[in-house]
């Protein structure tokens, strides 16, 4: 009897262990692929992965998890201070998660470190005395999107200017090149 018990317990442990391990590996690969392009590792890589995964999970469940480089630190601080009314929605978080995500956002903000071209342009275009909450209200963003007809933005496949990935097909990987643009019911966009 005892033998069976030991066997059963060790089998369960083994299966659980393998499942956990496999899960870890998958996460690692996914997050690396994402962060290489978009995020310069100012934070230790392991920590960055953990923080980024939480950010993706928590904020990405309602909308795209916008790359933090798009806005300056002051914008993200204000954002995290007003989550109880986040664009008229309750987006409040558990205390620990709140702390982690605030750290992730502010330490990867556009004015916190070196960023690749298009990211820094967005954040750097914000006047110093302003802290916009919408990336779409930064001057550089508005300049880049001003030629797009309203109907293409309001159509059901896009719904709002905040839905980056509807047209920027690789937005989730942090790639917003012109080549990767495909506007639903319109196609490529040339400036």
């Amino acid at each position: 009897m005892k033998k069976y018990l030991i066997m059963a317990v060790s089998a369960a442990t083994l299966i659980g262990g393998v499942a956990l391990f496999a899960d870890d590996e998958r996460y690692e690969r996914k997050v690396y692929a994402k962060s290489e392009k978009a995020v310069q590792p100012d934070m230790p890589k392991k920590k960055l992965n953990e923080f980024e995964t939480l950010y993706q999970k928590e904020c990405g469940s309602c909308h795209m998890a916008y790359q933090p480089e798009f806005l300056p630190k002051r914008s993200w601080s204000k954002m995290m201070d007003t989550l109880d009314n986040h664009f008229e929605t309750d987006a409040t978080l558990d205390v620990n998660d709140h702390k982690t995500i605030l750290t992730y956002l502010t330490s990867n903000a556009g004015d916190s470190k070196y960023t690749t071209k298009h990211f820094s342009k967005m954040s750097n275009s914000v006047p110093r005395d302003e802290a916009p909450l919408r990336i779409s209200q930064t001057p550089y963003f508005m300049k880049e999107h001003r030629g797009i007809p309203k109907r293409l933005i309001e159509q059901k496949e896009v719904k709002s200017i905040a839905n980056c990935a509807a047209c920027h097909t690789t937005a989730n990987q942090g790639i917003y090149s012109e080549r990767a643009i495909n506007i639903p019911n319109y196609g490529r966009w040339d400036d």
């Binding site: 909308h63 008229e88 929605t89 558990d94 719904k159 709002s160 839905n163």
Partner: protein, 134 residues
Amino acid sequence: MKKVLTVLWLSATLGLAAPIEGYMQTLADEAKKTDASFSGFDAKRGEKLFFSEHVGKKGKKISCASCHTNDLNKAGENVFTAKVIDPLSPKANKERLSDVKNVKKWLRRNFNDVYNREGTALEKGDVLTFIRNY
């Protein structure tokens, strides 16, 4: 030997019991505290809470079904951001109701979004009962 086995069996079943059961019990205790005549949660009441429309936080008339759709076995879509929402029913989506922290967070947020206030223990228990039995 028998004693050891019993202890092991007990800890195994406790470990396997869904964490949501513990949360349901907490809600039931709370509901009983506010109303001594409380006699258990009710899926029918939960269903009504789920489908009834209210002017929510955004000033628009919505219900839970506005995003989660009328069929809980189907994927929904955030009515404001167009982001896809996985099915709410644990039958169609095994991840659902498996993480109590997540359940608490979404009940808090979504009651505020639709009802403009937090839900009571009774309401939360009723809605969860409706979802679990869907």
